[in-house]
């Protein structure tokens, strides 16, 4: 499978990365090189093979449903580019 520039722009939009016309053109070539390389996986007979879901077979650890580290609002917003009273500030999303 290969991608065209239109698909590249759509994927960039899905990934929330702004691309110029020139970026999109370059990326089309690069992505097609990589997709061409991974194409060989289709040769592999995977009938009856389960997809890997756990690298080391183990039961997923579960935490008890209790608060263990609350009251960290100031720490959580400490690195944000824009905050007000422990809220993250973003451009207006609702008119």
């Amino acid at each position: 499978m290969s991608v065209d520039i239109k698909t590249v722009k759509r994927v960039a939009r899905l990934a929330r990365i702004a691309v110029s016309e020139e970026d999109a053109e370059r990326m089309t070539g690069e992505l097609n090189a990589i997709l061409g390389f991974v194409e060989q996986l289709n040769e592999v007979d995977v009938s009856g093979v389960e997809p890997m879901t756990s690298v080391i077979p183990m039961e997923m650890k579960k935490r008890r449903d209790v608060v263990t580290d609350g009251n960290k609002a100031a720490d959580i917003v400490a690195n944000a580019p824009a905050t007000e009273e422990n809220f993250f500030l973003v451009p207006k999303v609702v008119e």
């Binding site: 499978m1 991608v3 698909t7 590249v8 994927v11 960039a12 939009r13 899905l14 990934a15 929330r16 990365i17 702004a18 691309v19 990326m27 690069e30 992505l31 090189a33 990589i34 997709l35 390389f37 991974v38 194409e39 060989q40 996986l41 289709n42 592999v44 995977v46 093979v49 389960e50 997809p51 890997m52 879901t53 690298v55 080391i56 183990m58 997923m60 650890k61 935490r63 960290k72 720490d75 959580i76 917003v77 400490a78 690195n79 944000a80 580019p81 824009a82 993250f88 973003v90 451009p91 207006k92 999303v93």
Partner: protein, 521 residues
């Protein structure tokens, strides 16, 4: 001892405990070495000198009382991917500009609680995506190793003064260092360069497809990626969560064992951390390998592999055979599919993990006309080319209609790769010996690599299978090529049998010796 930076961790540990040297002295020695070398090597992106001296002072107080942990007073470098509280942590990406976490990663917390001293944060490929350390926002790291040329020098017959005989002529050979700058490998290029150039006693690193073992092989150092689940991933910036593992890069096998013992732990904060006690890895060193079964996978003999790599592999086989190990030919039939499967799984997981960098919660923000515009501009400005390329591939293979064809197929192939290993281990093979890389270190800004991303990816051809199967793998230096550059061998073990790797790697190290670059910086 004239230069404290030359001591291995085990040597420094003995001298610190015997009060022959102090933590402050060895820390100061490293800080001045960094100050002199870093402009040339660019291994550190942040030097934490005040913090280092403060930690050394506390270590000295403990050592004076005969107390302290297993790494008390040992100065280490930390890869920038590890969250270090209140200290520069940016995964060498512009998108994490100014980020100073309010938490400490489990691995580094383990090291500090054992008394280690932090010298600073080490350069790396952006978000650990790369095999040459050229994708860092902070610029490439330089390998302390340079190619050298063996010249035959014709000696003139000269006389001096009243017939004083100086040279009778004839020829001799001399090694001349080439000026071309080489990459240290990646993504843990800063870690490998700093350890190799004596800018830290040892370093933390991470390995998603070969990022510990390939740079270790390129710099003549020892690097181990432990079994998936052995080191906690908590507090380490995530790249591909089902492949990422932390591990050390060190000057010799013993130092790597000492560091891994401290870094590894069972951590309730990482749900994939495995509940198994951490063994004393150092105790495995020196155990005889007599009777061990060493597998040699025929699929690792790849087209275009330099003769020197094949010769090195044969040397490794001979060393282990001479030490009494049984050498057996094995087959890992799905080997060639590991790299293509990796380039679906890793970008898919990365595209999901890196969705968090949106200009809202940390790091860079580029203003936009609305929130989507802000996200898109922030991510366009914050991520470098290679990171964007992988996010794009990941987004594409996970997008509607393509998930089964790419991601599901890759995860099925991954199980086949794992099964290959399980089959040979079930047949009694204890460890597998392979080359670590298909070549020695290459030049910075290598044109072939820059022109074709797949060519760069091929660097990880021998290491990536190990991540796909979640196994432990160690790279150990085994010799120099004709141009005087280090080459490494890789040993792959059963899950959680890191001890067998230290045991066999030590035999190779004993036979091959250790390697130091000639100082030019």
């Amino acid at each position: 001892m004239s230069d404290l930076t030359q001591l291995t961790i085990s040597q420094a540990r003995a001298k610190l405990r015997a009060k022959e040297i102090t933590a402050t002295e060895i820390t100061d020695a490293y800080l001045s070495a960094i100050e002199r070398a870093n402009p040339a090597l660019n291994a550190y992106v942040a030097i934490t000198d005040d913090k280092a001296r403060g930690m050394a002072k506390i270590s000295d107080a403990k050592l004076a009382k005969g107390e302290g942990g297993s790494l008390e007073g040992i100065p280490l470098g930390i890869k920038d991917l590890f969250g270090t509280e209140g200290i520069h942590t940016q995964a060498c990406s512009h998108v994490l500009d100014g980020f100073k976490p309010r938490y400490e990663s489990t691995v580094t917390a383990n090291l500090w609680s054992d008394g280690a001293v932090m010298l600073g944060k080490l350069n790396m490929d952006e978000f650990a995506m790369g095999s040459s350390n050229e994708t860092s926002y902070y610029g490439p790291v330089v390998n302390p190793w340079r190619r050298s040329r063996l010249d035959t020098v014709v000696m003139p017959t000269t006389h001096q003064g009243d017939g004083g005989f100086v040279s009778a002529g004839g020829t001799r050979t001399a090694r001349t260092l080439d000026n071309a700058q080489l990459v240290p490998g990646g993504s843990s290029g800063g870690s490998a360069s700093a350890v190799s150039a004596f800018l830290c006693a040892g370093a933390t690193a991470t390995d998603t497809g070969g990022s510990i073992r390939q740079p270790a092989a390129f710099t003549g150092t020892v690097g181990i990626k432990p079994t998936y689940g052995r080191c906690s991933r908590w507090g380490i910036a995530a790249f591909a969560s089902s492949l990422d593992q932390a591990g050390p890069i060190a000057r010799d096998v013993r130092d790597a064992a000492i560091l891994l013992k401290s870094m590894a732990s069972v951590d309730p904060k990482d749900t994939t951390s495995v509940d198994r006690p951490v063994p004393d890895y150092e105790a495995a060193i020196g155990r005889p390998v007599k009777g061990m079964k060493v597998g040699i996978p025929r699929e690792y003999r790849v087209d275009g592999m330099p003769e020197e790599i094949e010769a090195l592999w044969q040397k490794g086989i001979a060393w282990l055979r001479d030490a009494g190990a049984e050498i057996v030919d094995i087959s890992l039939p799905h080997t060639k599919y590991a790299l293509p499967a990796y380039y679906i799984v890793a970008p898919a997981e990365a595209s999901s993990n890196l969705a968090r960098y949106d200009g809202v919660r940390y790091g860079l923000r580029v203003p936009g006309k609305d929130i989507v515009d802000m996200y898109e501009k922030t991510r366009a400005a914050g991520f470098g080319r290679e990171v964007k390329r992988r996010i794009m591939i990941g987004t594409y293979v996970l997008s509607a209609g393509y998930y089964d064809a790419y991601y599901l197929q890759a995860q099925k192939v991954r199980n086949l790769i794992k099964r290959d290993f399980e089959t040979v281990f079930a047949a009694g093979v204890d460890v597998i010996l392979t080359p670590a890389t298909p070549s020695a270190a290459f030049g910075i800004a290598d044109e072939d690599m820059a022109a074709d991303p797949v060519k760069m990816y091929l660097n990880d051809i021998f290491t990536v299978t190990v991540n796909m199967a979640g196994l432990p793998g160690i790279a150990v230096p085994a010799g120099l090529d004709a141009k005087g550059l280090p080459l490494g061998l890789q040993l792959i073990g059963r899950p959680f049998d890191e001890e067998a790797l230290f045991q066999t790697a030590h035999v190779i190290e004993q036979a091959a010796g250790t390697f130091q670059p000639e100082k030019w910086w």
